[in-house]
Structures are given as C-alpha cells and as structure tokens.
C-alpha cells in the first residue's frame, strides 16, 4: 500500500493538510512544474505525506480539486467467488421474540436480491421459531433456515458463530446482513473473522453496483464523514445495518416459502461462555436505541431531579430519555442513557435536546435523527446548527408548557 502526491497536479493549497485527521500532510517550499491546463505553470509549495503518521484513511483524496493524491493498494484475493449466490438476512431473536427491525433487513434484502436476480433467505437461531419463520416469509424471504434448540434460547457468541459459519459453507450466500445491535456486531465480527471475509459495520446505505458488488455506505468519525465500502473479491459480503434506517417490508400473507431445519451437531451447541442471567435495566422504560422519540438532557438540566420531567414527557408518548456525557459523568442518570461518541448512537424519528450545547462528540451520536428540536438558553450553542426547530429559552419554562400542550393534544386525540 502506498499514497502518492502527483507533483504535476499539486498546486500547493492547504485543503488536504487541513482535512487530514492525523496531521500527516505538510506543505513544503518546493518549486515544481504543473501540468498543462492548470491556471499556473509553476507552484511553489508541495504537499508531502508523512508515512509514519498516515493511516491511509483516504479522507484527503476527495478534497483535492486537482486529483493530486492517489492511494495505491494491492487487492486481497479469494478463491471460488462465483460459487456464492443469493442474499441472506439474519433475524434477531431477543428474549424469545423476533426483533421487528428484522423486517427492515428483509425489505432491503428483498430489494438487493431482486437487483441480483437471486433468492432471499432468512436465518433464525433460537428455540420455537416456526411462527417467526412464517413472518419472515410474509415479509419478503423466499426461504428461511432455522437452527432450533433449547440451549440456543439466549445469545452466546460461540454456538451462534459455529452455526452461522456452517450455514454459510452449506448455502454460500453472496451477501449476508444483520442488524448493528450488540448481538449483530458481536456475532458477525466473530463469524467474518472465522471465515476470513469482509465485514462493514453499521451501514446506513446498501446497493448493488454494475459488477454485482454490494456497495456499503456508512458513517465514520462519528458521522462527520461518510464512506462507501466494497468487498470486491471475498464472499459473502457481510454487513451490519443500523436499525431504523431502512423501511420495513410490507406484510404480504399470500407469500409462500420453504422452511428448512438446519441439522445441528453437538459441537455446534457447545459454549465455553455460559449464560447466567439477564437483568432488566429498570431506569429505561424504553430503550434509547429503539425509541421513535428521545427526550435528552444535558448540563442545563442541572441535576437528577429534573430528569424526572423528561421521563414524564417520554412516558406520555412511549419515548425514551437520553443524556449528554456531562449529565452522565455528573451522575444524574445512568450510562445506559448516554448519547454520543462514548455512549450510544441513536437515530430516532425525533430527538429533543434540552440544555445540551452540542459538542461534536454528542452530535456524532444523534445528528442523523430525522427531526431535531433543541432548547438552550445560549443562542450560540452548536446544537442549533443541526436543529429543525430551535428554541432559545430556559428549558424549565419550555418543558412544563410542552407537557401541558402535549396532554391537551393527547386528550383531544
């Protein structure tokens, strides 16, 4: 792998060095000739890349208006790519229930399968799965593979991995997607490493290119840049997908499909890690990862008591309560509520931020929400830059009034 600056195209501006997150690009005084077609014949400065600092992240490449930076890379090779056909979707069973975001995956999976002209296969692991197999067929799958066993009731990475790798080697899908939940990430990371294929995390866009490759779009650096990623040679092309981004497949009860029971061996069911217990987080009535609406509090909330106001609001419309890092570090609310770079990334239909200034690490966790409301006394707070509705006022005036109006609205509805 190498990164080069084409001298004849580098005019010596600072765009690339400003962009580099690692400080690897400096401009040195060096007079050099420019290629024809550029405004000047010579430039007096040249971008130089320090390879001891460069991580080849590629952010500098698109910012150069003259195409002066190029990354040269060797491609990884893989045997037998052509044998892999079809799209596969992993349906997440949590506490014995099929997570409904699975239908977002079958919706997207159906679209990809149709573009490729291949079948869509669902995969379920757990116990008593028949009902859900049918649901997956109603929501777009052509067939569903079931791995059912008493001992598979709770997620454990080892048996789930052994089963998925066996299913992959038997059915050879070209694309395999799961949700980017704690289960999806823990499982797919292990599976991809075991079989030695590519995995792209937390995708917000999936498409098929002209060569039949899966084009995976995902945010990086906390959503401040987007990357388009391919797995050109390896199969399956694996991706975890952010829940609540894609539309759910509509239910069609006239659809039929095959349900296949996957044969399990003793070895597949063994796990060195043992499940002991599941403890429900009592403070969260609704998970912030799954809520349609989140009421979030920051420094301006001033203390734990005021979070009660937000919980009251949230309870009225089945929303969840989020918090900024400051509020969590102050001990006003547990960490499970923290939104941002060192907390959770959320993208609800509506995010309401109360007394949150909007540090970049917070924005990274919520800026992809569909609709953002910000309430803050400081008109300069960066949160207003991402808000659809901003209210420059005291949250302690806004919250009670919002609650009152919401009550009226719900009563009349």
């Amino acid at each position: 792998m190498d990164i080069i600056v084409k001298k004849e195209k580098c005019v010596g501006c600072v765009l690339c060095s400003n962009e580099c997150p690692y400080g690897a690009i400096t401009l040195v005084d060096e007079r050099h000739e420019l290629e024809e077609g550029l405004k000047a014949k010579f430039a007096v400065r040249l971008a130089v890349i320090d390879r001891d600092k460069c991580t080849y992240c590629g952010q500098c490449v698109p910012v150069c208006p003259f195409g002066a930076i190029e990354i040269i890379r060797e491609e990884a090779t893989f045997e037998g790519k052509e044998e892999y056909k079809g799209v596969m979707v992993f349906g997440e069973i949590r506490d014995g229930i099929l997570e409904t975001y699975t239908f977002e995956l079958t919706g997207k999976g159906r679209e990809l399968a149709d573009k490729l002209g291949v079948p869509l296969t669902g995969v379920l692991i757990g116990k008593d799965l028949k009902k859900y197999a049918q649901d997956m067929i109603y929501h777009g799958c052509d067939r569903v593979i079931l791995a059912e066993h008493e001992s598979l009731e709770h997620f454990l990475a080892e048996p789930y991995t052994k089963i998925l790798t066996a299913i992959i080697s038997e059915y050879k899908p070209e694309v395999f997607i799961a949700g980017s939940t704690t289960m999806g990430r823990a499982l797919f990371s292990r599976v991809a490493a075991k079989i030695g294929t590519g995995l792209t995390a937390d995708c917000t866009g999936l498409d098929i290119d002209g060569e039949g490759n899966l084009i995976q779009t995902r945010p990086a650096f906390g959503g401040s840049v987007m990357a388009r990623i391919k797995t050109p040679n390896h199969r399956p092309q694996m991706a975890t997908v952010r829940p609540r981004v894609f539309k759910k497949a509509p239910e069609d009860r006239s659809r039929t499909g095959e349900v296949i029971k996957f044969p399990l061996t003793e070895d597949m069911l063994t796990s060195r890690v043992k499940f002991i217990d599941y403890i429900v987080d009592e403070t969260s009535h609704v998970n912030i990862e799954e809520a349609d609406v989140i009421f979030s509090g920051g420094r301006g909330i001033k203390g734990p008591d005021s979070f009660k106001m937000l919980f009251e609001l949230a309870d009225m419309i089945k929303g969840a309560v989020g918090a900024s890092r400051v509020a969590v570090d102050e001990g006003w609310i547990p960490y499970s509520h923290q939104v941002g770079q060192t907390g959770k990334t959320v993208a609800p239909k509506m995010y309401l931020a109360f007394g949150i200034s909007g540090a970049i690490q917070h924005l990274a966790g919520m800026q992809t929400s569909d609709f953002i409301v910000a309430v803050n006394k400081d008109p300069e707070a960066p949160i207003f830059k991402v808000a659809d509705i901003g209210i420059v006022a005291d949250l302690f005036e806004v919250v009670p009034l919002l609650k009152k109006k919401l009550e009226e609205k719900l009563k009349n509805a």
Binding site: A157, Y278, V392
Partner: protein, 262 residues
C-alpha cells in the same frame, strides 16, 4: 495473571470543529489521544492486576507515532508496551487488524486475559475485539459494563445489551471488550510519567509475529474504501426566541404528529 490490552491511537475529537458551510470537520492543530474506550480497558487491566498480581502488557498496531499512546499507557501503570508497526501493516481493515493483533498476542504467549475497548471512536466498528478472539479461538465477552468476579481461571461479567445486562461466565483465557460504565480511568502518576519516559518500547514487524504476508495490511483486507465524502447537510431550521415559546411548542407538536410519534 498476564493481561494484554489492545489500544488504538485516534484523533482527538475535542480538537475538531464542524465547518457548517461545507459540512466537514476542521481540525485545529492535530492532537492524538488513546481511544477513550481503551482507557477503560487499561484501567480494568490495572485493577485486575492489583487484585490478582501479574503484569499488564499494552499493544497497538499503528504508525510509529502510535508510540505516544503506548507511553501514556505506561504512565497509567502498564508494565510493558509493544508497538506493532510496519509499512506492510498499512491499510488494514478490521480483519487484517484483528489477525495482526492476534499474532502478536500468540508471540507474547501465556496470556490469561485480553481486554479491548468496545470500539474505536474513529472507525466505530466494534469488530476488532471479537475478531481477535475468533483468530485465537478464545471465548469472547463483548460490551462488558461490570466484572462481577474474576479469579485465576474464571470470569463472571455483565454485558451491556439493549434494555439491560446479560450476565455470563467464562473460563480464562478469554477476550473481553469494555464500555465506559466499567470504571473511571486513573490519571498518570508522577512515577508513571517517569517510567513512561524511560520505557523501551519494542517495535514488532511482520516477521517478529510470524504473520502471513497475505493476511496483513491492504493485502489481507477484504473490504476496500471506495470513496469518502461529506454527509448531506441539514437545511437550517427555524429558531424561536424566548417570547415565541408558545408558537414554537405548537410547531414541535405539529412535527410530532407529522413524524408519527404521538
């Protein structure tokens, strides 16, 4: 107890500012830090060592300047650090990275526990910890918010999952990844800082860890970044002042109705 902690050096987000005109991040002077989640990993390793004895070895794969991050780890109290660095490792995706780290861990040998941060804040993948565990064929416990109990040969931990905690138990050796809830990382002591200055940090290349050249760096990476681009900018919203609270709230409720969250 021999504990290995895997860390990554990342750009400091506090140094970044959003350019709202272009939607890109502008960095004012570049400062790199230890990935915040890895600080919890280092701290937890130190606490376990204080309880059970043994040593804490911190490793990082990265360019030569990642040595700074390893010195910081020694300043916090780690016993040793090893930098895994070579041009041949460059361009690694999570598969090649986890393979490389696992080869280094094999080379260290007799490791009882491997701790990683849940994810790095630049890539946000959470894939390297489980990847290391898969390559070493060890049990994995991801997203650990609390270690209930740890002995020479067993660990019981709470995994932070959606809506609660999953309590699991595993024999050692195993790989765990940790979240912020697990502890509050200590600051470097003066003694630590002196040790960090003096410490010799060996650099290991591909031959030192018996790495298969086809499985490291870009050559060992199935995924390829095709393009990096700025996200679409949101259009500026409407800002209401203090005397327009009533009107603003009506608009909020209208929006709630429109978004279907009522």
């Amino acid at each position: 107890m021999r504990i290995v902690v895997c860390v990554k050096q990342v750009p400091d987000p506090e140094n970044a500012k959003m350019d709202w005109e272009t939607g890109t991040v502008v960095r004012e002077g570049v400062k790199n830090i230890i990935n915040p989640f890895d600080l919890y990993a280092i701290e937890e390793a130190l606490r376990i060592k204080e309880k059970l004895g043994g040593e804490v070895i911190v490793i990082s794969m990265g360019p030569p300047q990642a040595e700074e991050a390893l010195r910081e780890a020694i300043a916090m109290g780690a016993d040793k650090a090893i930098l895994i660095t070579s041009r041949d490792f460059a361009g690694a995706d999570t598969l090649a990275t986890s393979y490389t780290l696992s080869q280094a861990i094999k080379k260290i040998g007799d490791v009882d526990l491997i701790i990683c941060g849940k994810q790095a804040i630049d890539g946000d993948t959470a894939q390297v910890g489980p990847g290391v565990s898969a390559h070493l064929d060890l049990p994995q416990i991801t997203f650990v918010g609390k270690i209930d109990e740890i002995t020479e040969d067993r660990i019981r931990a709470e995994r932070m999952v959606e809506g609660g905690y999953q309590v699991v138990e595993s024999p050692l050796p195993c790989v765990i990844t940790v979240v912020k809830d697990i502890n509050i990382p200590r600051l470097p002591s003066l003694k630590g800082k002196i040790a960090a200055k003096k410490a010799e940090i060996p650099q290991w290349g591909p031959e030192d860890i018996d790495a298969d050249p086809k499985r490291i760096g870009a050559a060992g990476s199935p995924t390829m970044v095709e393009e990096v681009f700025a996200p679409e900018l949101k259009k500026e919203g409407r800002i209401y002042s203090e005397d327009q609270i009533e009107e603003a709230i009506e608009k909020v409720i209208e929006a709630m109705e429109k978004m279907g969250v009522l």
